[in-house]
Symmetry: C2
Subunit: 145 residues, 2 copies
């Protein structure tokens, strides 16, 4: 298996509502057959009916909300950008689940849940370099130790 | 908000078990403070304690398994690669939730759940081009129509 992810799909109860939320945050994508595709670096973030997603995956959906033990994060370039993005998400209707705060690794981060309960962490982590296009590189922890 | 994902974090009940599963599939990463980081293109796939992940995000975990409405996919370059990867995942201990089959969009795909119930779709989709490094590009659906 190659070490990469092609799609991250968010199951949603209302595609139009979810699309509006991400668009308010500045995302731009394409909708086709009630599915929204946002290009995000070398992968796509996809919004699709949660019912269809579960059926397609061949699993039963406990229907207990957005947390199944998987979260997303976006690392940003400064502390102030964390605050700005958390405010923008709140304005777009997100629920702040963890207000931005200092982290144990010397960074600064907060978390919000989108309208379907999917959790995003917004983090400034000086130990994880970001490229000009935002690509993240995992540092060499042995070299840093 | 920039249109990108920096981390996808999988909450797991046993980091060593989850790490062994992904390593058997060929992933190589770094473990630091009971957290495993796999570089995956311009982002990192992270394995971390589900309890810590929920606490860090400031949410309560319904604890109902791996499906919270978010799934991952890896697109591959051929039908046969789908079969090979589904077989490799099965050998590594994954549960096949959807055997590989023809899809409505003219591709071929199957799904498995990792030991913590996180769902991966393995898909061959001739309509979504992959670069030499596996980066996926969302096609222009208007141009294709």
């Amino acid at each position: 298996m190659e070490q990469r992810i092609s799609l991250v799909t968010l199951g949603v109860t209302d595609v139009a509502r979810a699309k509006a939320f991400y668009e308010q945050l500045g995302w731009r994508g394409q909708e086709v057959e009630e599915t929204v595709f946002f290009q995000a670096g070398g992968l796509a973030l996809v919004l699709w009916s949660r019912d269809k997603l579960a059926a397609d995956a061949g699993i039963s959906d406990p229907g207990t909300g957005g947390f199944g033990g998987m979260t997303l994060a976006q690392n940003v370039r400064s502390r102030s950008e964390v605050d700005e993005l958390m405010a923008a998400a709140t304005n777009a209707g997100a629920e702040v689940t963890q207000p931005a705060r200092e982290t144990f690794y010397g960074g600064y981060a907060g978390c919000f849940a989108d309208p379907d309960g999917h959790v995003w962490e917004i983090a400034w982590n000086p130990g994880f370099p970001l490229g000009p296009d935002g690509a993240l590189t995992v540092p060499d922890f042995n070299a840093a130790a």
